[in-house]
Symmetry: C2
């Protein structure tokens, strides 16, 4: 799509290039914003800091996002997209139920251990900061949590209905597994790499066969 | 110990009174600091904010604590003492093992639901903020976490050794239960009061009798 050879045929290309440059700038700013927020929380985000880190002017970043709240919401959305890309989508090749749950957890471990974001799990880093503060940012983080837990619950339900695991309350199991993952994220930040085996053992217990 | 009648016999009383006043001021500042840090994290603490909220001068608060780090560490210590007083100590009347675990969890639910601190569980509010930051504050929060999990593990071990519950890995069970409590704290902040029943059901499952 660089399209240099078509410049004469496409008088609107300069605009397209400007748009593309805008998209790239926006994406670079958001990638940095997500890293910063995973370390110090969305509260610590500032136009100045993000601008310095990405080599842009503060005014330039401000023009793109206008308010700190818009920047925060865009960062949540960006983190969500990268999480889905890294954890949720690659697991879709696995069958629903037990196999999918194992794949989701393995992908999550890589996501938190590598980690994808400098400060580890984005939701873990920000949910405890915003849980007492009603507003759009909290709602956005809550949406991530609901969608993730619903996904886990659906596959627990499928596994139980198929008779692959003992009967259980899918929502309760999803809450429990998510709680363990969030605590594991903290342990990984503290350098306790043995926690990944603990996560696998807890999942094994939750997926124990019926009877 | 007001000791007015002994003033003539105790020439050092004015100093004692000053000391007592200092202790009360310190305690009032720390109580407010713990509430603020449970809401916005220890990072958000400032001499100015704490002074305004307690009707003291900023210089007065600064004289008491000298640096922000000392104030943060004193707040962690104060929160720890209040947590032990509210959750750990009242459970000591219960027998070791299953009964003690149930009492600890019930006390913890009151601690997080009432809540004792404005923003709920103090460790939950601050651990995700400091988990990526080596230093004295993180060490202090980590000490709370270790002591709490060790306490839980000891009673899981006792319950299993007594044959009251199925055999389990006490450290793994403590990690899992603590993870559930931290996630429940977030849910309580979000207004989901039904989570306390989820906590009780998960504990019931963990305390299921041996085969």
């Amino acid at each position: 799509m660089s399209g240099n050879q078509h410049d004469d045929l496409a008088p609107d290309m300069p605009t397209d290039r400007r748009l593309l440059r805008g998209v790239r700038t926006r994406s670079a700013v958001l990638r940095r914003a997500v890293d910063l927020a995973s370390l110090d929380g969305l509260d610590g985000l500032s136009f100045g800091r993000v601008a310095t880190d990405t080599g842009l002017s503060k005014a330039g970043v401000q023009t793109l996002f206008r308010t700190k709240e818009i920047l925060q919401l865009a960062a949540v959305e960006h983190a969500r997209a990268l999480f889905i890309e890294a954890v949720v989508d690659p697991a879709r090749t696995e069958a629903s139920g037990v196999a999918r749950l194992r794949a989701l957890v393995e992908n999550w471990i890589v996501y938190a251990e590598t980690p994808l974001f400098l400060g580890g799990c984005f939701r873990a880093a920000n949910m405890t900061e915003f849980d007492s503060r009603p507003g759009t940012v909290r709602d956005a983080l809550l949406r991530d949590q609901r969608d993730w837990r619903t996904l886990l619950a659906n596959h627990f339900r499928h596994a139980a209905a198929a008779g692959d695991i003992a009967d259980l309350d899918p929502e309760l199991a999803a809450f429990q597994l998510d709680a363990v993952l969030l605590a594991a994220n903290t342990a990984l930040r503290l350098g306790d790499s043995g926690v990944t085996d603990q996560v696998r053992r807890i999942l094994d217990d939750m997926l124990r066969p019926a009877g």
